[in-house]
């Protein structure tokens, strides 16, 4: 053996010996089908602590832990120093938040993303908490949703409730074509959970479908909340099995998952914890305020993206896109040049969220629907295969016009859409 061979052999032996003296490492994981993120929970200072890889459910027989580390099979309590979640709509910057608006108290950390724009707490029903990532570009895109549902959707009619929340496995089997990654066991907040990813195959808000086409739903919380599965959005779902008697669901969705979004989502899931509520964590009624003249306006930018004009904070996304329904509460002004005015913001007190009625003043609405039915059509028809889509838009505009009391003319013999105008009297 040459001297360098000998040196390398001895040096390698030293490294092996050193590594043998290292303490074991205790880890837990937050699992997603795409990124099972490992989070250190304890740095064992005592050599010989048995490795505990907490990967799923079957992890409890592997032994040693640091004495002050809570047993992993016990629910992790909510963070007692967390800030109450503010009333939506609101920016939530880096910090730990807690709320019990869904029943059980739950807390989670929102990390600092190196930007002044924090997550955005959306206006949502009383049965849901929804936050948007700073880079979200609209409903479903880089959103996270928290719910404490009582029903899964009916696989035969995914727009309605109709499946026992206790039978997730059966529901996944029945919706196999939605499932992108099979369910795996995991833990969230120290509780048993199942993680899976899905993408709904049923189109929603599809211009080729007449009328108001809803999105299919994953879960419902009575009439108060539902997780709508937006078109083309891939959802990662953490189904935490028993939180005060019902599942607790965390869902994160994005049309395209970026590393940043994934890291942010995993950070939130990793810090989620729940416990019994003492009823003190609801949003204070006084924090929900709305100006009676509250209004904002969407305009079209050069990239065919409808952007919020002005700087009013609102429960609506600052950006939306073409194709949204006129009366969708989270995506107004979806057509080029179409402006919507929003009034009648009515807090639903003492509920922790409020609804917004969308009202387009009648004469404006009729004029816009006229443009929508006529002027938009040539644009729509220009694109290959868009004739049907244009026709549906026209029919939709006519239906809406009739519904709100506009005067609707006759279809032309050449197929030209009817004129829509405001009532004369």
């Amino acid at each position: 053996m040459s001297r360098i061979d000998d040196l390398l052999t001895r040096s390698a032996a030293e490294v092996r010996d050193a590594v043998e003296r290292m303490p074991e490492r205790e880890v837990t994981t937050v699992e997603t089908a795409h990124n099972r993120k490992t989070v250190l929970t304890a740095a064992g200072a005592v050599a010989g602590v048995i490795i505990v890889l907490l990967l799923g459910w079957a992890l409890f027989g592997f032994g040693g832990r640091e004495p002050d580390v809570p047993p992993i099979d016990d629910p992790i309590p909510v963070d007692s120093d967390a800030m109450p979640l503010p009333a939506p709509p609101a920016r939530i910057n880096a910090g730990t938040y807690v709320t019990d608006v869904l029943g059980p108290a739950f807390s989670f950390d929102v990390a600092n993303y190196g930007s002044d724009d924090g997550w955005f707490l959306q206006v949502a029903g009383p049965g849901e908490v929804a936050i948007s990532h700073p880079l979200s570009e609209g409903p479903g895109d880089r959103d996270m949703w928290f719910g404490h549902p009582d029903q899964l959707s009916d696989p035969e009619d995914p727009f309605s409730a109709g499946w026992d929340v206790g039978d997730l496995e059966g529901w996944l089997d029945a919706n196999a074509d939605w499932v992108v990654d099979e369910a795996i066991g995991t833990r969230v907040g120290g509780r048993q959970a199942t993680m899976f990813t899905l993408r709904a195959t049923n189109p929603c808000r599809d211009p080729e479908s007449p009328g108001d086409v809803p999105c299919p739903v994953l879960v419902f919380d009575g009439d108060d909340g539902a997780l709508w599965l937006e078109n083309s959005v891939l959802y990662e779902v953490w189904w935490i099995h028993d939180v005060e008697g019902s599942p607790f669901v965390i869902a994160a969705g994005a049309a395209t998952w970026t590393d940043e979004f994934r890291a942010n989502v995993n950070g939130i899931v990793a810090t989620w914890a729940a416990g019994r509520s003492d009823g003190s964590l609801g949003v204070e009624a006084s924090t929900v305020e709305a100006d009676a003249d509250f209004r904002w306006e969407y305009t079209l930018d050069s990239g065919e993206v409808v952007v919020l004009a002005g700087d009013l904070p609102s429960g609506f996304p600052a950006r939306t896109w073409r194709g949204q329904n006129l009366d969708a509460t989270q995506g107004v002004g979806a057509e080029p040049g179409l402006h919507n005015w929003v009034t009648n913001v009515e807090p639903m007190l003492p509920e922790p969220a409020h609804t917004v009625d969308l009202i387009i003043e009648l004469d404006d609405a009729c004029a816009e629907l006229h443009r929508f039915a006529l002027e938009m059509n040539p644009q729509e028809r220009e694109a290959p295969g868009n004739f049907l889509r244009a026709l549906v838009f026209t029919e939709y505009a006519i239906d809406r016009a009739v519904e709100i009391g506009c005067v609707v003319g006759e279809w032309g013999t050449d197929g030209a859409p009817p004129a829509i105008s405001e009532p004369t009297s």
């Binding site: 052999t9 490294v15 050193a18 490992t38 740095a43 490795i51 990967l55 459910w57 592997f62």
Partner: protein, 171 residues
């Protein structure tokens, strides 16, 4: 949920056994190639997490450990990844001591520093051969090159090390 639970349990058992079996060797490899006592464990951990994510595939390989070694070999010689792992280790200091590789002798430190100064492939071949007792064929499989290429890297690496450590002739 019984079926999912059973599948998850089997998955965990298998991966856990793999992790227990391979972890120290992989940490050693990470340390030798990164030179960072604090980042080595994280680099190994990342490689295991990557294996876990793909365990359906990786677990079916004849030698899943080879796959992990490939990941850690590549990551440990990446300056960016090493820096990131070191930064994570520093951040952990606020809460608890990171898992550092205990110190080794100054002479061994010098040897591994010289190994890390070699071209990446040579350093990887040296580390896998001496630290992990991998054969030329196995190293070739891990690094995705032919046994002859491995032999060449080993020979050139040793030659360079001899020159540096002993002031010898490179010939």
């Amino acid at each position: 949920m019984a079926r999912i639970e059973e599948t998850a349990a089997a998955f965990v058992d298998e991966f856990d056994a793999f992790y227990r079996r391979e972890r120290r060797a992989v940490v050693g490899l990470a340390y030798a190639l990164s030179g960072s006592r604090s980042a080595a464990d994280d680099l190994a951990q990342e490689a295991f997490v990557a294996a876990y994510r793909r365990w359906d595939t990786v677990g079916a390989y004849d030698d899943p450990g080879a796959w992990v070694r490939k990941v850690v070999s590549n990551n440990a010689v990446s300056r960016w990844r090493r820096a990131r792992s070191e930064a994570k280790a520093v951040l952990l200091l606020g809460n608890s001591r990171p898992h550092e590789v205990p110190p080794i002798s100054a002479e061994a430190e010098d040897v591994w520093r010289a190994v890390r100064a070699l071209p990446n492939r040579q350093a990887q071949c040296i580390a896998l051969h001496y630290l992990d007792d991998r054969s030329v064929d196995e190293i070739g499989q891990i690094l995705g090159c032919s046994p002859n290429t491995v032999k060449t890297h080993l020979a050139r690496g040793r030659e360079t090390l001899a020159f540096k450590m002993e002031g010898g002739d490179r010939r």
